[in-house]
């Protein structure tokens, strides 16, 4: 009963000066919430990063930035060092030491990263499609759960890849992709990627294309020259045409790649050693000073990055906690000042028969309510951690 009266008086008092009290609660909430957010955000980012870097024991790529390789090949967030080609995979697959899953990156569709890989990627990740089937033809793709939701694409839907440079005709070709499968949510970068076959990615890069039949073509630019006299008639096929102009079923007859597939570029490869010994052997093989490639352990890389981040975060958290303490003191001072301004009201309560203890309880209840509201605000702020951890990973990866 006493508590009911205390709550009644406290709520009315807080409501009476709601602007001031809302400000105090907000200040309290933000100041308490920020350190919580920082800790929670980093913890979440740490979990996400460790989870992602554990999808493959080893990562193969061209020599260069280790972080570009990890964040490119595992988070699809940056461009890995260039120089790896298909035949280089044999170096890790020789003697059955490991299985390699190739990755080709660097293209986007509706500003979403496209990942070219083999179907082994899904087997190794134990990813079972939510609906549809894995890609089999050039131009087919599997969508991550978030991509499907964000772009509102369903099975059978078609869309075009983004041209990298509209003025560069020899550059990335817009390619019409058709959705053949959709992944379930995995809470990983897979959710935000479009997966397709390696050949599709090479086609986007312009390594595979088709020509129209010069004799029947009506497409501008498809025929660059023709001579005709009494005996002969010659027509010269024109520019390579992006696949976007054809239907999927038309790809096979006139579609081709130039050069050997073994020379086609890769951006990295996830490497799965047969056992620990194989892993050790493989790492040793790529340790040479004149080595053109790097074979790294993503988990150790994540440890190094996270240690660095957490070192900085500890300093920031200390500052944030100190700030929160100061702010809490300021809020407490403001609250005490407001109580002084209400000294007459508190004195009245005693004159009407309230004990000092009961008056203290009334004041305490009001303060507790204010702190509870502040803490609720802090909880709301700290609940942004999942969103922010995603942002941290993006910041670290540079995507």
């Amino acid at each position: 009963m006493i508590l009911r009266h205390a709550l009644f008086l406290a709520l009315h008092s807080l409501r009476h000066s709601w602007k001031r009290n809302a400000l105090l609660a907000c200040v309290l909430g933000v100041s308490l919430g920020l350190p919580l957010l920082l800790n929670s955000m980093l913890a979440r980012a740490s979990i996400d990063m460790r989870a992602r870097t554990s999808i493959a024991p080893l990562l193969l790529g061209a020599k260069g930035s280790e972080s570009d390789l990890v964040f490119g090949a595992m988070f699809f967030a940056s461009t890995p060092p260039q120089g790896l080609v298909m035949r280089d995979l044999a170096r890790v697959e020789v003697d059955n030491l490991a299985t390699a899953i190739p990755l080709v990156l660097g293209a986007t569709a509706r500003k979403t990263h496209i990942v070219g890989t083999s179907i082994d990627y899904f087997e190794q990740r134990a990813l079972v499609l939510r609906e549809g089937v894995l890609f089999a033809l050039i131009g087919e793709c599997v969508l991550g759960a978030d991509v499907a939701a964000t772009l509102e694409l369903q099975l059978g839907a078609t869309f075009f890849t983004d041209p990298a440079d509209l003025a560069n005709l020899a550059g990335v070709f817009p390619l019409e992709l058709r959705v053949c499968g959709i992944l379930p949510r995995t809470n990983s970068p897979d959710d935000n990627a479009i997966f397709t076959d390696l050949r599709t990615m090479w086609s986007i890069r312009g390594l595979g294309h088709r020509h129209e039949d010069p004799a029947t073509s009506t497409t501008a630019g498809a025929v660059i020259g023709a001579t005709k006299d009494a005996d002969t008639s010659t027509t010269i096929a024109g520019e390579a045409l992006p696949i976007e102009r054809t239907q999927q079923s038309d790809l096979a007859p006139n579609f081709h790649f130039h050069g050997a597939t073994s020379d086609f570029p890769l951006d990295g490869a996830l490497v799965f050693p047969a056992d620990a010994k194989s892993r050790a052997l493989l790492i040793g093989r790529f340790n040479g000073a004149d080595e053109q490639f790097q074979l790294i352990r993503p988990d150790l890389y994540a440890d190094r990055v996270l240690n660095r981040i957490f070192g900085v975060a500890r300093v920031l958290a200390t500052i944030a906690y100190a700030t929160a303490t100061l702010v809490a003191l300021v809020v407490a001072s403001a609250f005490m000042l407001s109580m002084r301004l209400r000294a007459d009201e508190l004195a009245l309560m005693q004159r009407l028969g309230a004990s000092r203890g009961r008056v203290v309880m009334f004041v305490t209840t009001e303060a507790v309510l204010l702190v509870v509201v502040g803490c609720a605000g802090a909880a709301v702020v700290s609940m942004c951690a999942p969103l922010m951890s995603h942002w941290v990973l993006r910041l670290v990866s540079g995507s």
Binding site: H5, L9, S17, L348, M349, R351, L352, G353, A354, S355
Partner: protein, 216 residues
Amino acid sequence: MLETSTIEFRRASGFELRVEPIVLREGESLAVRGPSGSGKSTLLGLLCGELTAARGAISVDGIDLTHASDATRRNFRATRCGQVFQTFELVASLDVLANVLLPFRLHSSLTLNTAATTRAHELLERVGLRGAERRRIHELSHGERQRVAIARALVNQPRLVLADEPTGNLDPALKMVIAQLLLDVTRSVGAALIVATHDERIVPCFDRVIDIGGGA
């Protein structure tokens, strides 16, 4: 109902108060007259148990306030005493009805129930504030605020009502109205009323008058 011997009170500042014996029965009213600083408020403080006399005895309804514990005095103020102040002393964060019912939230001897709420409504009607239950204090005129204070002073069915300059903050036209209202309502509930005032115009309204002329 109220019976005192000669009361003496001293403050550390040197202020001294000496009041001759007072006897007051149910329904009677008493005006305590004197200039500012003469000790009128101090006397009311002694009679409600907020202050303790250095010498003399104060008995209300058989309760010896002079020798009572703090808890007994608080209980007395909450259950048997109603108070009206010059500056109204209403709680700005509460509406009219909640202000009238405030004593029920301050002491466990009083139970806030339907009867108490009904009584609060009746008192508000009697002081002319029917329909104003949900109005905020800042929306009221000074006269209305003092009416709310009078209703609050009587809501706990007190045996003794103490009013300290109840007309001090009111317009001249309102002074008599409020003083008469205070007298009427107090009499109607059978309580004794003591009013401290230096306003000569309202003094004749009361059954008896004592003068306090002393001071520091």
